[in-house]
Subunit: 258 residues, 2 copies
DNA sequence: AAATAAAGGTTCAAATAATGAACCTCCGGA
DNA sequence: TCCGGAGGTTCATTATTTGAACCTTTATTT
């Protein structure tokens, strides 16, 4: 593990639920020596990736990240493009809508819109989504390069619930079904009592660069409701893909095989 | 310079104007060896801080940054809080409005709203603002800790235009005037033909954590127009400060001296 | 179609930077 | 006042980083 990896892995300790951490805690969680941890934090702080609260001396993520994220957004405006659609979907379905981006063959939740109701599915920004057991993952794989699919299904597939598909062949059938249908459906594959639908957002190369998903409690999800959400999410994903690339969705899809 | 610093400094090579760079170019600009540069980029890519375009092989900033930036935003919602005010100010003034955050005693532009007119001031997201020669910088220093002011004015002050104040005493007078007035005014101190007004956003500790500014061409900036923008920007900054900390602005201000 | 140039990528002995046990100080309970 | 735990620092030991030289691919020129 390189020093750089160690430094960045410290950033991964921060989350929505643990936004501020002390030196001792960071050292404990990372497993690095206190001196090492501090030196890494100082490097990160020098670039605004973390900042230290002057009174508590705890560390938190810094504004330098915001700066870089916005530079990325300026060229790759996934968030801005998707935001109105996410809002609209959330209002139309009254369910949780979330956007994930592909990073290194993983899916990363970058934006979540929760409906204003008590019984809803909660998804956290910053969460990684397993590819084989979430609607988002299946939608992603249905438009990923062949070798990415192989790699994702090549390793042991964790069973999150009793319904999680852990057989590569079964997952492949879901992927194929999603490709034909235009959206994926995951019935309690990641969490009991949660049914999600998702569709892939395609980049100019024709393969998936992210996914859009609607997650709802089982009790509100009839077959018909799932199908309706599926169509809505697919339509939104198509529109987002076209706005991002400036090209027709069918042209994008055809490019993947080339 | 630690390895971590080197890796992060690579990220700083990317900007709005150079969002994608090849390996050779990154090596050239950073001054690191090609092999070193590549190893660092691989580490960054492993965490989604950069990604490589499969076709051009060029590197660009990655979605992992977005993830961390959003985790920060969840705890420190400066952007979300400020966004509506920035929009409103931009519409009301028909001029460029920008938000900067304090990072390591520097000011970093994190959000810009440009008006829809031909002759306007352009500010780039990701730009660092000098403290002694911009309205934002003066506004920031007018609510910074004494030692920060000393450090900012202790080094040689660059003259960006013939009107830039390069005498610490003169800058201090501006800082004092801004503190009394509630906003700062910078008449062509950073760029000829540009007049800006700015106000500080205060954190719960009572000192400035960022600034809000309106930048306009000289030709549209009468004394009266500047004063009006100044009052507007000060009112917005006050409101943003109160929403962020949940405390009264005067209470916040008084806390600084404590 | 051969030649050239420039980019991306890889290797391994030499050089340099990272490591962590031990130490210090400060703070809030008991 | 003593204690435990926090943040922070030091420096000989240790492990990682470095870069010149090399290969491969791709685009451009002759």
């Amino acid at each position: 593990m390189s020093t750089v990896d160690k430094a960045i892995s410290l950033l991964d300790l921060f989350s929505i639920h643990a936004p501020e951490l002390g030196l001792a805690e960071i050292a404990r969680r990372s497993g690095f020596d206190k001196a090492t941890t501090r030196r890494l934090l100082l490097s990160l702080a020098r670039h605004g990736f973390v900042e230290q609260d002057p009174s508590t001396r705890h560390y938190r993520l810094g504004a330098g990240l915001t700066r870089l994220a916005r530079i990325r957004e300026a060229r790759f405006p996934i968030l801005q493009t998707a935001l109105p659609f996410i809002r609209e979907l959330s209002v139309a379905t009254s369910e949780t809508v979330h956007l994930a981006e592909a990073v290194n063959g993983s899916l990363l939740t970058v934006l979540v819109e929760h409906p204003a109701r008590a019984n809803r599915v909660n998804v956290d920004v910053g969460e990684y989504l397993p590819l084989h057991s979430t609607a988002s993952g299946i939608a992603y794989l249905s438009h990923a390069r062949e070798e990415e699919v192989k790699e994702a299904l090549g390793r042991p597939l964790a069973a999150y619930t009793s319904r999680t598909l852990t057989e590569p062949a079964a997952v492949l059938r879901e992927i194929e079904a999603a490709r034909v249908r235009g959206y994926s459906v995951m019935d309690q594959g990641y969490e009991d009592g949660v049914v999600s639908v998702a569709a892939a957002i395609l980049g100019s190369g024709g393969s998936a660069i992210g996914t859009l998903a609607v997650a709802a409690p089982l009790v509100r999800t009839s077959k018909a409701a799932a199908a309706e959400r599926g169509r809505a999410v697919a339509a939104a994903a198509r529109e987002i893909s076209e706005r991002l690339s400036g090209e027709d969705f069918n042209v994008l899809k055809s490019r993947a095989s080339a």
